[in-house]
Symmetry: C2
Subunit: 194 residues, 2 copies
DNA sequence: AAATGATATGCAAAATGTTGCATATAGAAA
DNA sequence: TTTCTATATGCAACATTTTGCATATCATTT
């Protein structure tokens, strides 16, 4: 269900195409909800059928038409209702295979896992840069924002805080993995004892 | 795919029933991977078909039989292989509807959202107590743990750090929502001006 | 005595999400 | 000139997850 409302939320202020929506899921919305373009196009058709969104075609030279979607009053009402609906409260459902792999830490896997963890660390770092940039540019003085933008800011803040915490965890984990690898019998990286 | 390996990981040290597995997903494993009992039973059948787990029935008076599952050498090998497999690196996929609802912050929704946020805060607090208890009891001196337990510890630490960060975010968000609600025209909670 | 909650397992349908493919053009880079 | 990237949309098959139901017993609570 939530994808449907995420799309409508993205349409609150702008008229967007499926492609635009996919982009916007890549950036701002995508921190809390991910969706592929296939899912988005399918859901847009669904929303059109319900008349919760309307669309108009925009001709373009050469390229396929752009279908621009916007929220109808009916869709807007459905969104407003959903916001106030019973909250299922799934507490921070972090579904990440990596933790399962960590449960399987062994001499065979330690180097691989440390490597993958380092990759995650730098990917998160990059994402954080993006979010901090957005924060500085658009949310510099949060207390002065209009109400709805305050909500968006809080979501962004959630992403930023979570990202920073993740970096801190990566650092602790990498340090622990490094020292554990050193203590391993037959560790081939004892170059300093030569 | 990951559920399959999560189950096998849970079976690494103990022989467990479907019910036990569902319990263990509720607690330790469930911080990073959630699964309902229906999913677990289905996956256990699947794993049996592949002969990656074996099972034996345990009679009980009155109650239905308990089917106890354990990892076969073949399953163990498949798990080991999976751990070293190409990592898809889905960076912390936080799928939480609540953030979408926050994007829809309005005078109509602010009280409801503040209430739901407070509920999340206390649920997370409770979960944190549980994890801190486990940490103190079983992972008091992480550097002395055997290698595999270090991995489990790191996952637990990830959960704890994430939980603490979430609490901090909740506090910031609640404060902001409270001050925004006060500034609302027609705020009926101006009891102090009577 | 009846209701609830924990133990213990499972089917079926619906909703959601992923993966692979397919089409088409413009502009930039190699 | 070919290849790559971005724009722009979509189908079909498959995998996964969720929701609702169903069964059965024991122990505790109302």
């Amino acid at each position: 269900m939530a994808l449907r409302y995420a799309i409508m939320t993205a349409l609150l202020e702008d008229e967007l195409s499926g492609y635009d929506l996919a982009r916007s899921f890549d950036i701002s919305l995508g921190f809390f909800w991910q969706a592929s373009h296939q899912q988005i196009y399918r859901e847009l058709r669904n929303l059109s059928d319900r008349t919760w969104v309307s669309h108009r075609a925009e001709q373009q030279k050469g390229r396929p038409e752009r279908h621009l979607y916007s929220l109808t009053p009916k869709g807007r009402a459905a969104l407003d209702e959903w916001v106030l609906e019973n909250d299922r409260m799934r507490l921070q459902e972090t579904k990440d295979e990596f933790y399962i792999k960590l449960y399987n830490l062994s001499p065979d896997s330690i180097d691989y896992l440390a490597d993958r963890l380092a990759a995650r660390r730098s990917a998160m770092m990059e994402r954080l840069y993006l979010y901090e940039r957005i924060r500085r540019r658009h949310y510099d003085n949060p207390s002065k924002l209009p109400l709805r933008r305050k909500g968006v800011y809080l979501a962004l803040l959630g992403g930023i805080m979570q990202g920073k915490q993740y970096l801190a965890w990566c650092d602790e984990a990498l340090a622990m993995l490094a020292s554990a690898a050193e203590e391993l019998p037959g560790s081939s990286s004892d170059a300093d004892t030569a």
